[in-house]
């Protein structure tokens, strides 16, 4: 019932109504209650194609990217990354090292509940860390937490890690850490937890048909911004060509890891897009620095000059990869471009080989996995051809992955490695993972995976220092020094950085694809 009457006043009233509606909208926009694009709609069901069926989704047991990706949506993370690789608060709201780096204090978010109703707080987080340090619990990536000795509870929402010695990468571990319910993990029963996941993430696991699909549904009690996707179905499709075909046929909305030629043809179509940031994984041909011809630095450098890495990226990988210009992928903290590059120069390679006395008809053994990395076998074959060009004969053998892993983890006296193709990807954005954790003397097999047996005391000292101090600028300077040493000593043929690629139908927006091989779809909308 209108308090006014008459046409003139009606118009004024209508105008006022439109005005107030407009103001109301503006306010709502400003407060972020209505998402940025009003024309974007929520998604009821999002079908994502992945290549492997996770063995487990328990955060403590996970070792590879896809299970880790899915577990993050169920369990949540302490910190998360922006598109530029910066760490921002998530379940942890603030954190800092003590000046000597031996304690690390973390503030936790208040008011977060797990799906079993228990609270996320200092007690649950301390419990989680103690599970990780407990040798009875299976935690293959325990070493990532480094020298953490104990965890103290400062107050209900603050914990303090006590370290044996300073360890800068621990900060990045906040993005790797998950949240697990104290109630659900006491007592620890891995079998029970594998069947019933309790997390604080944006989604709940509602169905897992082994070998077929994993279904996640929105967690209505999620503490953070409400996801715009109601239900996510991860469909397990081992063959990448099949995933792409399903995307094209409309059976999938998103497909992980299309092959390089598929990336190109999908991008050429207006119906599809491919998000493909350069990943934190670098591909290189490791060389045994202690045995055989590759013991000589000149020969190792020669092999670097002998291979045209740009051609490999352009011709074999269809231009989706980028040659390495440093022994660390560009997305990592501590990366700096090397002043001198190993440009393709077969003449220089021949000269170095001659100088080093590489014999006529000398042979080097090369091994490669098959299907582990994008076109690994083809890349190895190409390298074999390049080396042949400069007079280095190689015998190339392929092995399946478990056999290959066994061969690369043998200690120095038992190893038969000379040249081996490998990819090494960091789960967090710190050069420590690529330098100290692969090339220092501390990680030579059987202690670790440094199968090049590169042994440079100056390099060891520099990288050890770089992980033991907290000052970011000082660390960067140390990594600049260390990576230049590494690049120059060439314990590997430095090849390229692979992209992490995810293809999706163009009608979708809001997908987040990150270099550490993560894809977060929870805020996707459809046009």
């Amino acid at each position: 019932m209108l308090p006014f009457s008459g046409t003139k006043n009606r118009t004024a009233l209508l105008k006022r109504r439109w005005l107030s509606l407009l103001v109301g909208f503006a306010l709502l926009f400003g407060m972020g209650i209505i998402p940025g694009s009003v024309w974007a709609k929520d998604i009821k069901v999002l079908r994502i194609g992945i290549g492997i069926d996770p063995d487990t989704l328990l955060p403590t047991e996970i070792t590879t990217a896809i299970p880790y990706n899915i577990a993050k949506l169920i369990y949540g993370a302490l910190a998360k990354y922006t598109d530029d690789g910066e760490m921002v608060p998530n379940l942890a709201t603030a954190w800092s090292f003590s000046p000597d780096g031996k304690t690390f204090t973390v503030q936790l978010r208040k008011g977060v509940k797990f799906t079993d109703g228990s609270d996320f707080n200092a007690h649950s987080h301390k419990n989680y860390l103690e599970l990780i340090m407990n040798p009875k619990v299976r935690v293959p990536l325990r070493f990532l937490f480094g020298p953490v000795v104990s965890v103290d509870i400062v107050d209900d929402y603050t914990v303090r890690y006590n370290l044996k010695n300073a360890y800068a990468p621990l900060e990045q571990m906040l993005a790797v850490s998950s949240a697990m319910s104290l109630k659900a993990t006491t007592p620890w029963d891995a079998d029970k937890l594998r069947k019933h996941h309790v997390g604080a993430g944006p989604y709940k696991l509602t169905e897992w048909v082994r070998g077929e699909r994993i279904v996640l549904e929105r967690n209505e009690n999620y503490w953070g911004e409400r996801p715009t996707v109601d239900k996510i179905i991860y469909m397990i499709i081992p063959e990448s060509a099949t995933r792409v075909a399903m995307l094209r046929a409309g059976q999938l909305d998103v497909a992980y890891s299309p092959s390089p030629p598929d990336i190109k043809s999908l991008e050429a179509s207006p119906d599809f897009k491919v998000a493909r940031p350069l990943s934190t994984r670098m591909i290189f041909m490791g060389m045994n620095t202690q045995k055989g011809y590759t013991k000589d630095k000149r020969i190792r450098q020669a092999l670097n000059y002998a291979v045209d890495k740009q051609a490999i990226c352009d011709r074999i990988l269809f231009g989706v990869a980028k040659p390495l210009d440093a022994p660390v992928p560009p997305s990592l903290f501590g990366y700096s471009k090397m002043p001198n590059q190993y440009d393709y120069n077969p003449d220089k390679a021949r000269a170095l080989l001659k100088e080093a006395g590489f014999p006529e008809g000398g042979e080097i053994k090369m091994i490669t996995p098959n299907g582990r990395y994008t076109y690994d076998k083809q890349i190895a074959e190409t390298i074999q051809a390049y080396l042949q060009e400069v007079g280095v004969k190689t015998t190339l053998r392929t092995y399946d992955w478990p056999t290959y892993m066994g061969m690369t983890t043998r200690p120095l006296d038992k190893t038969e490695l000379e040249l081996y193709l490998i990819g090494w990807g960091a789960p967090y954005y710190d050069a420590d993972f690529m330098t100290f954790m692969y090339f220092s003397s501390y990680v030579q097999p059987p202690r670790g995976l440094g199968s090049t047996f590169y042994s440079n005391p100056e390099f060891d000292k520099t990288t050890y220092m770089a992980r033991s101090i907290v000052d970011k600028d000082k660390r960067k300077a140390l990594y600049q020094k260390a990576t230049q040493m590494l690049w120059d000593d060439a314990p590997a043929i430095w090849l390229h950085v692979e992209p992490f690629s995810v293809a999706f139908a163009s009608k979708y927006q809001g997908i987040r694809v990150l270099p550490h091989e993560m894809c977060f779809p929870q805020y996707m909308t459809v046009k």
């Binding site: 070998g211 075909a245 046929a249 092995y399 892993m405």
Partner: protein
């Protein structure tokens, strides 16, 4: 008599299966590759791998492991998957049905296409029709299942949008995988039907029937075909093993949730109990199929009697 025969055959397969498990058990563990390392991933330290190895009981002497395995097997317990920690039987059961279904549908399709093709070739030998059948048979046997599967996907799913690409669901999901799997079987069936029919058609009683004035079609179907069935059924039984092997590739291409795919991922993960379980089931299926074939002989040929 028949029941006795059936059970007799069944019991005699037990030593066969026993031999398979023995061979498989020790051969798997002699292969390079370490399941504990696969689970630990490429980044774990040797220490972690040792912990996992101990947790899984893989650091015990092989003989002890075999003892444990056989004790469980007698109670029809196939053990626990190293990778998922679920019982092997639980992992296999849903997939077994899917693979058997796929194999059966492929066999039916192969018969529906292969037998008529063989009949045509036999009835018009050395003509263009015969040649076409022979060439198509050769084509079918030589085409790699992987390629054929992807071609079918491109044509029927992506371009014409007639059938789904992969996965499972209603009847439309089984069509392309079954056709791909049937390809090699069609060829064998067609060729065997052809040669068997040609041999039968040259028999005296066929000439007698013609002389009697029986319609040619009746001769072909009622007299010749029925008597030619034995070699055809034999071929199906023998090829069933190859068919089961073919499921491995076909299931991978079409994301069909069967045992073949599971076998591949188990081998890549060195999941010994799973590999053993799946191969045992495959062996059992093969044996059962051949027993079935033998039993069918009784219906086809009144002269065959067991017992």
């Amino acid at each position: 008599m028949m029941i006795r025969y059936f059970f007799g055959r069944l019991i005699s397969t037990i030593p066969v299966l026993f031999g398979i498990t023995l061979f498989l058990f020790f051969m798997l563990r002699a292969l390079p590759g370490d399941p504990a390392q696969v689970i630990a991933g490429e980044m774990a330290t040797e220490q972690e791998v040792e912990i996992i190895r101990h947790q899984l009981g893989l650091d015990q002497p092989v003989i002890i492991q075999y003892q444990i395995f056989m004790t469980r097997l007698i109670q029809l317990d196939l053990g626990t998957s190293i990778r998922t920690q679920n019982p092997v039987t639980e992992e296999i059961r849903p997939r077994l049905a899917n693979t058997v279904l796929l194999a059966l549908v492929a066999t039916v399709i192969a018969c529906l296409l292969g037998i008529p093709a063989g009949i045509i070739a036999a009835v018009r030998p050395y003509t263009w029709m015969d040649n076409i059948v022979t060439i198509l048979a050769l084509f079918g046997m030589s085409m790699p299942a992987f390629w054929l599967g992807l071609m079918l996907i491109v044509i029927f799913s992506v371009n014409w949008q007639l059938l789904p690409v992969g996965g499972s669901g209603g009847i439309e999901y089984i069509v392309l995988p079954a056709i791909t799997l049937a390809a090699m079987l069609i060829a064998s069936i067609a060729r065997n039907t052809r040669s068997s029919m040609m041999e039968t058609m040259s028999q005296d009683y066929i000439t007698t029937a013609r002389a009697k004035g029986v319609v040619e079609n009746t001769i072909i179907i009622r007299h010749a075909l029925k008597n030619s069935f034995i070699p055809i059924i034999t071929v199906i039984g023998l090829q069933f093993g190859a068919l089961l092997g073919g499921t491995v590739l076909t299931e991978t291409v079409f994301a069909w949730p069967g045992m073949g795919r599971l076998l591949v991922s188990s081998i890549l993960g060195r999941d010994y109990p799973m590999i053993q379980g799946i191969i045992l089931v495959f062996a059992l299926l093969f044996v059962l199929t051949n027993i079935l074939v033998d039993l069918i002989y009784v219906f086809l040929d009144p002269k065959v009697r067991y017992g």
